[in-house]
Subunit: 297 residues, 2 copies
Amino acid sequence: MFSGLSAFPLTPMNESGIDEAAFARLIDRLVAAGVDSIGALGSTGSYAYLNRAEREQVTQLAVAQAGKVPVIVGIGALRTRDVLDAAEDAQKAGASGVLLAPMSYQKLSEDEVFGLFDSVTRHLSVPLCVYDNPTTTHFEFSDELHGRIAQLPNVRSIKIPGVPVEPEAAKARVDRLRALIPSHVTIGVSGDVLAATGLNAGCDAWYSVIGGLFPRTALAITRAAQSGDVHQAMRLSERLQPLWELFGQYGGSLRVMAAAAELQGLTESPCLPLPLKALDGPGKQKLATLLEALELT
Amino acid sequence: MFSGLSAFPLTPMNESGIDEAAFARLIDRLVAAGVDSIGALGSTGSYAYLNRAEREQVTQLAVAQAGKVPVIVGIGALRTRDVLDAAEDAQKAGASGVLLAPMSYQKLSEDEVFGLFDSVTRHLSVPLCVYDNPTTTHFEFSDELHGRIAQLPNVRSIKIPGVPVEPEAAKARVDRLRALIPSHVTIGVSGDVLAATGLNAGCDAWYSVIGGLFPRTALAITRAAQSGDVHQAMRLSERLQPLWELFGQYGGSLRVMAAAAELQGLTESPCLPLPLKALDGPGKQKLATLLEALELT
């Protein structure tokens, strides 16, 4: 479950609730494309903006729709109590694994983050992926802390935020982390721009945003890297350079992917929870042109 | 309400719930000392970690206990929908004003933050204070955005995160913001270390963390500055230098003030929501010595 392509779909919603039909459509695309796992309620799935009942609803839908494809469910929350509740709900709803980011309002210390993972992993009966995403959590994991957390029961993967651009530096970074964690814990790259570099550098998985909407495109990159064709993986990724540039320009991937889903008729508009707004105006126009040119699927 | 000393108490709690008796004790101290307003459910009151029912519970307690002292209630949440609910709940429970920080998981744009304040201020019947706290929200207000938001209905104050250390630079900073906002909107300083400098520079209010636990100490600084005795205000603040250093050393004021409340027997230990942990071990020992030496009240 924590290797290959893990595709992270949007959770289409508006101020009245979850758009179940649109979410089911997104999951269907992932299953049809043959992704290795589905990451429901990741950052792209706006987990942080949903209440407990909504998170249960989304998990149940994802599990029902995914069939045999394992579903990993995001259980992050600001408070340990709420993470424990989310973990219990996810397991009851049939999640195959869970994903936990140390969300913060008050900046967290290493000791506090270790305490969170220690509490949560004690209460799990499914495997957990440590979600290292400083852009949203404002917490920087040290490799030493990753090493300590990776020893906890049920920890099976680490989702790292990216790797250095240079292939050798990327490999050194992955090797350094690998040396600090048990062999049963995989390393997955996120930050789609660096995914091919990360996979080529030895990451076991790609926790992918574009995979949630364009699974065939993401699978082509993943399968090339997995078969050892590093050049083909890089070529396929570099072809998407204009998309990576839009991510950089519009504060990350979420608002761009939401607009892409709207443009493809896969979701209504709006599909993000306010105050978030999908890419609009000239940016959306540029994205439309780009989606056509790149033939993303 | 948005001038003088606004004291922000802790919300003492543990994993089972709110410690109502301890919270009532904290409010009693503020009323007895004669603070100008009480800021319930600020960052120090851990609003971000509480659910809707708990926030209602804390608001009701604060209002009941505060008597004639106006209570300002924090209504921030990641999602606009939840902010609107919190605003409604706070008003129903008798809050005299509300305080809104643009909490984030996905980093917010200026347009998204303006949209949030626009939506919320339309639905208010009590005045609002804009809460500018980049340390916890990871959003940097431009002065131009402050100017636009300050024009919205019901906006009556801006809580700024601090001022430059140099008195002239501090005054220039306050004057620059003042020139961009209507005269009915006050400016309050937070970041206790710079409170005396901010008040001396012309801030109308001090939104105070130490005021929530040591109201007499904070009032002495406030009243000195209000009476124009800039040197006395600075002297009283500089006397607290060892406390300011502890704030710097332990990632902000919250964990230190929680430990101080525990040491004074005002709350049980723990009194913060996990994963947060109050200052402990040698740091707490140091704080105990310091509290005695500084005779904080």
